[in-house]
């Protein structure tokens, strides 16, 4: 036994047979099942002289020295697939060492050792469930990913789905490996079946949902998203999935409509600001911005109106106001901006209020190059005095600075600011008037 092993080691270390491909072997073995004994007896006919020739045979069975061309591998892959092979005669083309494989009974642990070293090894001999599970256990304890994968491929092929799942359910490491393997080869169907079996409902739902990223056509994607609704997501996520579907549904309608409007060339907003991209698959907030930009005045009834979006997706006031502000500011529609913040109180007086701090409003206005008068008005509304002063100085809202300094009775700061305004300007005069006023009790 030892000597045999020694011969084999030598063979393996010197030949070109470096690959291990299990289907390869399994296929031949299934052919040779009946003729196992015949194969063994062939050993006697193969003498040492032939070894030289055999060693120079490439693993495809063709002698080395001939250029291996891609075209000739068609028949090769046939030979190696699970379908019955052609006239390939492995028993004669195989080197002496090979036969010993078929006749010896390698234990699971030995088999796994051989697999790890990359040696050709048949797994077909492990017929009973118990044998197979033992093989798996050995593979797992070895921690070698390739070996575990090899065994799993074999089990996947030779066990029914139910038994495979049932056995793996209690073998965490192998289970995780199988999941990873199925993801790697993209076997979505089996993966979903597995999650269903394991009652890992949320994972099942998410794995199914993930597929939408591979669907490019918007209509098809929309239909797919529809199938995701009602899957066992968490309550929160279910709502989001529903929103995702609804959003894409709306976007398809808006996109079709707007493209039509744009090409018709009659609508001013599209003429002045041609669209740079399609609205499809954009996030909700981006869609709202788009809607505030191109469809601001539309009534609630249309899918493209901002109010409709707000209602359908329950967009909070804060987010709505911010987005609308950004869109109208970009269009320099200052009246619209005004209207966003103006409310009439019960006495009929108008007052400005914002669900976001006015400092944010100022920043957004400044980013869109709002004229100083507009900026000034909103800077004035900032509640925190320090912030107000900071922003006013930053954006050169002179009147606000002056007035605030006066209110704070801060003479020094007012003096300092005087040097920043233009000589002889109205602001300078105003500052001088205030500085000279006898009515103010300066604190510094």
């Amino acid at each position: 036994m030892n000597r045999t092993k020694g011969d084999e080691e030598e063979y393996w270390n010197s030949s070109k047979f470096k690959a291990f491909t299990f289907d390869d072997d399994d296929d031949e073995l299934s052919q040779l099942k009946e003729s196992k004994r015949a194969v063994n007896s062939l050993r006697d006919f193969v003498d040492d002289d032939d070894d030289d020739d055999l060693e120079r045979v490439s693993w495809s069975g063709e002698p080395v020295g001939r250029r291996t061309r891609p075209g000739s591998f068609q028949s090769l892959s046939d030979a190696l697939s699970d379908t019955p092979a052609k006239s390939y005669a492995p028993e004669l083309g195989r080197p002496k060492g090979e036969y010993r494989d078929y006749s010896n009974d390698w234990s699971p642990s030995d088999t796994v050792q051989r697999l790890r070293k990359g040696k050709v090894c048949s797994l077909e001999r492990f017929r009973s469930l118990q044998d197979k599970l033992q093989l798996l256990e050995e593979a797992v304890s070895m921690h070698d990913g390739n070996v575990i994968t090899a065994v799993l491929i074999f089990l996947k092929r030779t066990l029914s789905k139910e038994i495979l799942f049932r056995e793996l359910e209690v073998r965490q490491v192998a289970l995780r490996h199988l999941i990873h393997f199925l993801k790697e080869i993209g076997d979505q169907k089996l993966l979903l079946d597995l999650f269903r079996f394991l009652d890992r409902t949320e994972e099942l739902a998410l794995t199914h949902y993930r597929e939408h990223l591979n669907i490019q056509d918007p209509e098809k994607r929309k239909e797919f998203l529809k199938t995701c609704i009602g899957l066992p997501f968490s309550a929160e996520d279910s709502a989001h999935i529903q929103d995702h579907y609804t959003l894409l549904e709306r976007q398809i309608i808006i996109e079709a409509n707007d493209r039509h409007l744009e090409s018709a060339g009659q609508t001013e907003i599209f003429r002045k600001h041609p669209r740079k991209a399609s609205i499809l698959n954009m996030p909700l907030v981006t869609t709202l911005f788009y809607s505030c930009f191109y469809h601001y005045t539309e009534a609630e009834g249309t899918f493209s109106s901002p109010v409709n979006l707000k209602k359908t997706f329950k967009i909070p006031d804060k987010q709505y106001v911010l987005t609308a502000l950004a869109a109208r500011a970009k269009l320099r529609a200052w009246h619209d901006v005004d209207a966003l913040f103006t409310t009439k109180n019960w006495l009929g007086y108008t007052k400005k209020r914002a669900p976001i701090g006015f400092h944010r409003v100022v920043e957004i206005l400044h980013k869109n190059s709002a004229p100083v008068q507009i900026l000034q008005e909103y800077v004035n509304l900032v509640e925190d005095v320090d912030t107000k002063l900071n922003l006013a100085t930053k954006f050169k809202c002179h009147d606000v600075v002056i007035d605030t300094c006066r209110d704070l009775k801060d003479r020094q700061q007012l003096l300092a600011y005087r040097s920043k305004v233009d000589k002889g300007s109205a602001e300078e005069e105003k500052i001088d008037a205030i500085l000279n006023s006898s009515q103010i009790r300066w604190k510094n």
Partner: protein, 578 residues
């Protein structure tokens, strides 16, 4: 030879040479002229092992990047594909092989899998009908790559995801193999400490692998005294915070890959007189960053606020050195001055580069947004207001700042609160999904699975206990002359490094309670050494510890470890596993 690898307590050139030898052997196996087709991802790590000159010595005449369709023309006898074992790359390779021009001279194909072969990949090649085209099909186990005299990395980009999201052990297997290689070259490591599930697995694999190699006892005198294996998920906090060391900030802003950084070229354009700024370089300026550069070694681990003074002092020293030319009167003195010129010029060039980089960084760190972000981070890390929705984070989402920035902050808040209150979590999730897209349901789910962003279960926030016991937040931090590792985050001491610090003195028994709160088991193993190899430390000689982060490490943590080394005057080699 890479001289900077020999500087530390452990001569990593030994490893580098061993790895180079294996590469040479494979190249020689494919006799004759050759062209290498590279998986782009590998060119970086390989660049640390072998330059083109080495490859040329072994008849590598051309190099190409792996791309679809046909291979470029090259009059070589062999084509070698050097790739990671990834299925999608197999598809590209088969395209290359199948579209080979049969009219041209025949070429031999070979494939080198780095770091391991994969059954699935070979299966794929077979399915595509090209497996038999390869004459030599081997694996090159490039597990640990030396980056610097005290730093090794596996550069395994998917490791964290595999280990903590998918619970897949393949990367751990590679880690164990890498450690076995190290032990073969540097001797068996007598003591192994660890914290975390993955650490336990790696230790088990190492012990098992050692058993399988019985017969050939390792006779090399051990260089390492200890190995500390740490799961990344024992400390998820540190990688989320913004690093504040010089090297850390370079990485945060520009990204350091395989010791290289790409910088905006405008700052580095040579100032030619009278050119007026025409012909500005458009390609990014690529710089190599390692301890071979004297100035860099000096400033890389300092808190950024302490870098300026070093640079200005250096400027004075270099100016003075150049001024010396006026003092050189005799021929001998002039000769001496001239001989030192190259060194001085290199120093001056180095100073110029780092002054420019420091300026670039300063533009970022002095911005209002950076200050606001840092304030929020520090509030979280010191335990303030971690249980409510944070308005700065809300603003970032509203202004659609990069998603990664937002996620780092919400995850930081979650980790510092042992999970967020359901209401707070739902609020953030909603804002994120509405602003960045619903597909991020998947992103958020993944984050929850790894423990980075999750709801609070059990109702108790254990972070304050951990923070107080391990002294993670230090109010009185000295950035210029630090006395504690917390300087690397200007107040926060990296949890992982604190654990390493406490392990060496006074030992983990003093923090049993905290260790039990942190995820995963902690353990200690001893590997027996043959008598005669047992180490007796000389008085004053400190232990050499190898610290292995399973799942990645930050530059700030490396800086903190180097600082500890200096404090204790002990040698620490760090290994990362990214």
């Amino acid at each position: 030879m890479a001289t900077h690898l020999s500087y530390g307590r452990v001569n990593l050139n030994v490893l580098r040479e061993a790895v180079r030898r294996e590469l040479r052997e494979f190249l020689d196996k494919c006799a004759g002229s050759k062209a290498i087709v590279w998986d782009e991802y590998l060119t970086g790590p390989f660049g640390l092992i072998a330059q083109y000159s080495l490859l040329k010595e072994h008849e590598v005449e051309k190099m190409f990047t792996l791309k679809g369709s046909r291979l470029p023309a090259a009059d070589v006898k062999n084509i070698i594909f050097v790739v990671r074992p990834r299925l999608e790359l197999m598809d590209i390779i088969s395209e290359n092989v199948l579209s080979e021009d049969r009219r041209g001279p025949a070429r031999d194909f070979h494939i080198l899998f780095v770091p391991r072969r994969s059954l699935l990949c070979e299966q794929r090649l077979k399915d595509l009908g090209v497996l038999g085209s390869f004459i030599h099909r081997e694996e090159y186990s490039l597990d640990l790559i030396p980056f610097d005299g005290d730093l090794l990395s596996m550069e395994s980009e998917g490791a964290f995801k595999e280990c903590y999201l998918e619970s897949d052990q393949t990367s751990l297997y590679h880690a164990a193999k890498g450690l076995m290689t190290l032990q073969a070259l540097y001797g068996t490591i007598p003591q192994i400490f660890g914290k975390g599930e993955c650490a336990r697995q790696v230790a088990n694999m190492m012990i098992r692998m050692k058993r399988e190699f019985t017969g050939s006892q390792n006779s090399i005198f051990p260089v390492f005294d200890n190995l500390l294996l740490l799961d990344r998920n024992v400390d998820l906090l540190t990688p989320l915070a913004t690093q504040l060391t010089y090297e850390g900030l370079i990485d945060e802003i520009y990204g350091i890959q395989n010791s290289y950084v790409k910088l905006p070229p405008e700052k580095f354009a040579p100032k030619k007189q009278g050119d007026g700024g025409k012909d500005l370089p458009t390609e990014a300026k690529k710089l190599q960053l390692n301890s071979a550069e004297e100035l860099y070694a000096e400033i890389r681990d300092k808190n950024f606020n302490a870098v300026g003074s070093v640079l200005s002092k250096k400027a004075k020293v270099i100016s003075a050195a150049f001024e010396e030319r006026h003092n050189a009167k005799t021929v001998g003195e002039i000769k001496q001055f001239v001989s030192q010129l190259p060194h001085m010029q290199a120093a001056r060039g180095s100073l110029a580069n780092h002054t420019s980089i420091a300026e670039l960084i300063k533009d970022v760190t002095t911005s209002e947004d950076f200050f606001d972000k840092l304030t929020v981070e520090q509030e979280f890390m010191s335990g303030i207001d971690t249980d409510k929705v944070n308005s700065y984070i809300e603003d970032c989402i509203a202004q659609k700042h990069p998603l990664i920035k937002v996620l780092r902050l919400v995850c930081l808040q979650s980790v510092c609160n042992s999970g967020l209150k359901q209401k707070v979590l739902d609020y953030y999730k909603r804002e994120i999904l509405q602003t960045y897209g619903y597909e991020h349901i998947l992103t958020l789910h993944n984050l929850e699975k790894t423990g980075l962003l999750k709801p609070q279960t059990g109702g108790r926030n254990t972070y304050p206990t951990i923070r107080k016991t391990l002294r993670l937040w230090m109010d009185d931090v000295n950035e210029q002359n630090p006395t504690d590792i917390s300087y690397v985050y200007s107040g926060y001491a990296p949890l992982s490094v604190r654990l390493a610090q406490l392990l060496s003195r006074p030992g983990w028994r003093s923090i049993e309670e905290v260790l039990r709160i942190l995820p995963g088991p902690h353990f200690e193993e001893r590997q027996p050494l043959p008598t005669g190899l047992q180490k007796k430390r000389q008085p004053g000689e400190n232990r050499v510890t190898l610290i292995f982060f399973l799942g990645g490490v930050t530059f700030a943590e490396i800086a903190a470890l180097r600082f500890l080394s200096q404090l204790e005057d002990g040698g620490r080699s760090k290994e990362t596993y990214r």
